[in-house]
Symmetry: C2
Subunit: 328 residues, 2 copies
Amino acid sequence: MMKAWTLAARPEGLPQSEHFALVEQPLPELDEGQVRVVNRWLSVDPYMRGRMNDVKSYVPPFQLGEPMQGGAIGEVVESRADAIPVGTLVSHMAGWRDEAVLPAQHVQPLPELGVDPQAFLGQFGMPGMTAYYGLLQIAEAKAGDTVFVSAAAGAVGSTVVQIAKAKGMTVIGSAGGAEKCAWVRELGADAVIDYKAGRSVVEALGEVAPEGIDVYFDNVGGDHLDAALAHARLHARFAICGMIDVYNDAKPTSLKYLARLIGNRVRIQGFIIADFKDHSGFYRDMATMLREGTLKREETVFEGLERTPEAFLALFSGGNKGKMLVRL
Amino acid sequence: MMKAWTLAARPEGLPQSEHFALVEQPLPELDEGQVRVVNRWLSVDPYMRGRMNDVKSYVPPFQLGEPMQGGAIGEVVESRADAIPVGTLVSHMAGWRDEAVLPAQHVQPLPELGVDPQAFLGQFGMPGMTAYYGLLQIAEAKAGDTVFVSAAAGAVGSTVVQIAKAKGMTVIGSAGGAEKCAWVRELGADAVIDYKAGRSVVEALGEVAPEGIDVYFDNVGGDHLDAALAHARLHARFAICGMIDVYNDAKPTSLKYLARLIGNRVRIQGFIIADFKDHSGFYRDMATMLREGTLKREETVFEGLERTPEAFLALFSGGNKGKMLVRL
């Protein structure tokens, strides 16, 4: 029997525990070309909140009563696919459950990079790719640039800080609370803004970036985006990969400094990591940074499938330092 | 003696007549390399509102008590510059006055295109270039695209409509009031939204563009920008050249649909026409459209230097159809 979390009801606003239900379902026998995977690690990510709404988006909505999806790392325990023998560690999207039967083409054996398997849900997985492509390709950040990144203690943001430093940029991170801010500074950030310290982000950013910013990496939206607009330099580029500010909430974003994008020729670009297909350069670059010791990793781990919704909900109250994971 | 409008006081919000003062000043004798120009036509443009504030921007602020600047067409009546003989019609930036003494390199003889001189303040001048480069280069609009343009009865917007139609695009224009909307339709727009008709722009746009828009040309900001975000298709491109909505007003822009730019990979790009230097392609393209009869021109003309502030202020109450001009 498979144990899986299903969406029991569609939340409005912040989800509560009653929106989730843990169910047991029998797993089918393997067909030719299929594998059975026992999950070791599950990923919870802010974007999953969007899939709980019944609206067309870049990923389809979760279906009520069906097991939810999400990134996961598991071990193949049964195989009818020659390319994926028993014992292979794989990443796949059948998360929120303890095991799954999947076609071989839906699982990816982990690249041999000498990192822990769960890293492929974080820095070496989707969050790391989001940081890498967003910073270097979407925002075209280059050595010498001043980069501002919000949610800098999160899975994506903390990787942006480290890649930016490794590539010779000046980095300003924003995070909530003294402990996270200290960690962001440890990662190499030149300046850190504690957005919970009571000052407006626009004022705080102006102080630490008196000459303005060239790049803004947005995980948050809202007042962070407005502050970035206020302090954007000529030809600044904004990469927008998340707006955690509005995921649970239909409140509009209020921007006082939006019109500055005209005079400063600012480019704001939304992006989705699924658009990037060839990751060989990403793996090579990240492995080099890891070898050279410029890449630190932090995880916040919840133990046990039962705690998956709790881990997910903690994302929205700033409960994670680094990548939020569930270990089974 | 030169008669010139000066900025008498810096306005907050919408300027009033007391913020302007008409003064007389003697003109200097010509130095070697200078010309004296008698102005025939003056341009008033929304961006001038920004120059009335004492803040650093892409154009320097007007100085209190000094003649204001702006696009103008005049005739050279005295010359100590060989390249610019007496009788030459020129465009220059010493507007808001009846005559000026200028170095020859600050005046441009009008290209020979067979159009009225004042067209070089409109379709063949800065507003036309803004429309042309914004649509084709910044937004990269191409045949088959659905283009939404705000302030479609204005100098820039009406030219966007016509260029877009000439290039095989589907065009939706927004304008205020039945008369302007009828004119935008005459220009070739496939659909027109009357933003003064009481319906929200987001609702109206959804109705005329059920498949969404590929390009948004923004002269307005505010609810038009939000509607464009709500209906942006995958990889939509927004060219932002003006936000008349906030020029007189420090009110924040409230965007309900901003986060959609992520899933739809929307690109928002601010731009300034001064960044484009070589206009030979622009003149050639526009002259072709004019010859083929696909380019209609409309002007709203105020008579006499005395009425310049009045013409300028009418821009913010939607008082112009096509290019707003002052004839001396």
